[in-house]
Amino acid sequence: MSEQKAGTEIPVGPQHPSLKEPANFTLNVDGEVITGAEMKLSYNHRGIEQAVLGNSYIENIYLLERICGICSHAHTSAFTQGVEELLDLDVPPRARYIRTLIGELERIHSHMLWLGVAGHEIGFDTLWQYAWRDREIVMDLLEEITGNRVHYSINTIGGVREDLTDDQRETILAGMDDLQERIDFYQETVPNEQTVRMRCENVGVVPKDLAREYCAVGAVGRASGVPTDVRKDAPYAAYDDVDFDVITDDRGDLLARTVVRIGEIAQAIRIIRQVAERIPEGDLKASAKPPQALLAQVPEDDAVSRYEAPRGELIHYIRSDGTDTPARVHIRVPTLANWPTVVESLKGSYIADTPIVVAGIDPCISCTSRIGVETDGSHGGENAFDLDELREYGIDWYDERGNVERPSTAGEGRTATDGTEGERP
């Protein structure tokens, strides 16, 4: 065990049962208290931004949808909004309403998922099971409206692909009634359950000024009293037509985030009811042209598109070069904006709080993996690599590893740590 710094170093991740996706935290602990935390990300770099460049805008909708299995609609909406801006298309109101509807249903299922995960992280498995059971109401609605539980694929450039039938509106309203009952139950019990309060109150606190300084977005920012919400600040889809409140809290701890997220589910139900009742008649797409004809019209330009994903503000930057494939797409997912607050709020909290503090920002770790930047200064004091340095570093690393004598795998009794630690320089 390394004892260079005060106390013990505990590695959390990249593989750890509390992390559903790979990320690495190195915690310096003194007894049960964390004195320092370091974070490494990008274990799951999938090269999506590069892959996007080889596909047409139409194909990219489905590719970008697969960045995340939870906020899939957020990514397609942000992307199609950007492309519509490039094409100067006016999305018809009915399509805007349907996008809003799916977006809010998605917000509900994402927050319910988080509630379950948070329950599991603090050892409250019953809450986890209940939240995920009730989440099925929304999942079934989504499947009925769009044809898939996860990747709805309802957005297309200039509108939506599927209409909302009257039967479906009835089903949605009935489903919302059931869900409202459940949310009332969660609002009443979860923040008032003493053991939940003990685990969440004053844990992982992000004060308002820290949230502002680190640009925390979404429920994390709102729970710290920063009322940022793209839906209000720069309304897209049908958000300027519907009434809803931005839920904020000023405590900044995990309890506040729980309260804010459950409150947002209630607001989402409110929005969905308005949409289902007031959806205007009209076209689904801005233009009747086949998709290929639209793609031929994309000018040389760039666009920034913002979307309030369940986890916070999602930004897509799209640069086109006049062909049917984009020249550059950059994606800033909300989790990236919230990571720094995690490292700050880990310091001084207990080891036992690590899972819930990490889960408290509702991290979507694989979505965040855009680029790997080594910042621990172990490669000659620099803070980042350029491409040549990265090559050199990679070659050196493999050379060094090649010199290590490999343990023989043949014969003898196997033991757990056989040749997996200690020898590496």
């Binding site: 596909n55 909708i61 769009t146 044809g147 898939n148 019990t189 008032n192 003493q194 086949p290 290929q292």
Partner: protein, 119 residues
């Protein structure tokens, strides 16, 4: 400090409820009409325009036309990601997203499907 156990009434009520889990292969649910399962192809209306291949983000569909004008339309369900864009792009409704979703198999060739026809 309040007494823990706000969930006790709900938990005891749950004891009387039917289980939420469904015994899957025994009780199959019917998929909604819009469900996007494996692609179903009808060679008759197909013109061999290749729009489905062009818009397929997963490269699951290939359309080839040889010198004699024979069109070969092939589809690999193992690559397909069931977005339904091919159905959307097809100008003649030759492609429809089916309802089939139990697609697992241990033989690779069984994922591939191919039609050759004259246009």
């Amino acid at each position: 400090m309040s007494i823990p156990g706000k969930l006790i009434p709900e938990a005891l009520k749950t004891l009387g409820k039917d289980r939420a889990t469904v015994s899957y292969p025994k009780n199959k649910r019917t998929m909604p009409d819009r469900f996007r399962g494996a692609v179903e192809f009808e060679p008759e209306p197909c013109t061999g325009c290749g729009m489905c291949e062009r818009h397929c983000a997963a490269d699951a569909i290939t359309v080839e036309t040889d010198a004699d004008g024979n069109v070969t339309w092939s589809y690999d369900v193992a690559k397909c990601m069931f977005c339904g864009q091919c159905e959307e792009s097809c100008p003649t409704d030759a492609i429809v997203m089916g309802q089939k979703f139990e697609l697992a198999d241990s033989e690779k060739p069984s994922f591939e499907e191919s039609y050759t026809f004259d246009r």
